[in-house]
Symmetry: C2
Subunit: 251 residues, 2 copies
DNA sequence: CTACCGTACCGTATCGTGTACGGTACAGAG
DNA sequence: CTCTGTACCGTACACGATACGGTACGGTAG
């Protein structure tokens, strides 16, 4: 289940993200607000996953009617957009010495973000959410790459590459937990149910390398060691490549 | 919208993937079949996206009632699983000289696969679909990394890293098209609608680097050059890192 | 040839979505 | 007190997946 966001008018979405509406509201007593709704949405998604996020459930958790939400938020897509932007603010902004330490820090912070909010992986990254928190984070992350010889486009490409790797790693790290909640089946249970059947059908003669490697990976996975190591190992490789690029630009 | 797959019994799903059921069916005249259903599903997803894939629409395109599908397929999740497995068979299997050429070939083939079937990006990669085509592809892709000094787990990690990069690149490359279909808005239209508002709110003083780099990336994007280049550039970096690893293992 | 029965197919119903529309009730202004 | 704008919500609709209980027919047993 990949959720698409921001259904309609971009200007409307942006106004919401940047809170431009100046909700004066003399009349009536608004006990609801965009922030309360967004907070409730984040809580719900954190605990039960994106699939469980419905307007009805958000409204219930706030003790209001479903349609009341639409006074503050144009629709579900936009709500998710604001949730995404809001959550970016929780990443750290420490300045590190040098681009390599900076990118390592950025990678770790983003990985932690995905761990706190696994549902971010379920949101389709189709059109970037251009909210204030996203902008601030983007600015911070680029700042550590500024003035070391890379072009603007290269800075963006490098950052994108690192963040992409983080996202892949996050998938590996949180997949088990998310899938377990989604399907109600432990990885172990799933394997136990699948294994006997696979035995009869997965011919090691037809797939010799896959069988051997798959087996080894399965064993390594049980020691719960592989995903973290894979993250660090991939990051090192990337940074080495980036280092070479920077050196070539510095000449 | 990320679609989750394979709802229920793993054994049932695997039996479906490997076509173990031996549908003898003396009685009645089955003009329907798993393959026909899967083909229809792939066609529908190719042209209209995963979001448009509903049991009703698949049934309609086959000229049968919705519930008839359930005679052959346990549910929508399992249908998607079979679709995913089926589509893997279309990737090339040419043997290349050396691991670097092999990985480059594998990366390109996978990128092409995503281009042919963008909906693959919308399927949650939660639990690998262990079908015959996936197994065959995995085996082929690993074979080119066998016997060059890497451990089994390392072989898998390297492959995963490359495929992850391909997936990220595929997102960049196809995002525009998919999002356009999903939202009915061109990137250009979206920007035109968003730009005037962003001007008023996106303070270059607050986000100096982001503003500069974002602008440059936007311009580069218009020349439709960046994503392909980003794919190649990232791949080179990864392969350099892998080369270093292999050298260190060869000692 | 008839009776039977297993199976392919499907009509209907249930429950869950997002959200459009038309109220209702209340707070503040005149 | 009247008027009006707004916060909130009840209901309805158009989808979605899929459980359940038929129906109709082809092959087989007698």
């Amino acid at each position: 289940m990949i959720e698409h966001t921001g259904s309609g008018d971009p200007a409307r979405t942006l106004a919401l993200l940047w809170r431009t509406q100046e909700r004066v509201s003399r009349k009536g007593k608004p006990d609801l607000s965009v922030d309360r709704i967004v907070r409730a949405g984040i809580e719900l998604a954190d605990s039960d996953g994106l699939k469980a996020l419905s307007m009805r459930r958000v409204a219930e958790s706030l003790g209001v009617g479903t349609m009341s939400l639409y006074t503050y938020v144009p629709g579900k897509g936009e709500l998710i957009d604001v949730m995404v932007d809001t959550v970016q603010a929780t990443t750290g902004r420490e300045t590190a010495q040098g681009w390599r330490a900076h990118l390592t820090y950025v990678a770790r912070e983003n990985l932690a973000l995905y761990r706190r909010h696994p549902w971010l992986l379920q949101v389709a990254p189709s059109r970037t959410v251009l909210g204030p928190q996203v902008a601030a984070k983007y600015d911070f992350e680029l700042r550590g790459l500024d003035g070391i010889g890379l072009s603007d486009v290269e800075m963006d490409s490098v950052l994108e590459l690192v963040l992409g790797h983080v996202q892949n790693s996050a998938r590996g790290l949180t997949a088990a937990a998310v899938t377990e909640k989604e399907t109600g089946l432990t990885d172990q249970q799933w394997w136990d149910a699948a294994a006997p059947f696979l035995m009869t059908v997965f011919d090691p003669a037809r797939y010799p390398v896959a069988a051997r490697v798959g087996g080894a990976v399965g064993e390594a996975h049980q020691s719960a060691f592989s995903p973290e190591h894979s993250f660090e190992f991939g990051l090192e490789m990337l940074l080495d490549g980036v280092g070479r690029l920077i050196e070539s630009r510095a000449l």
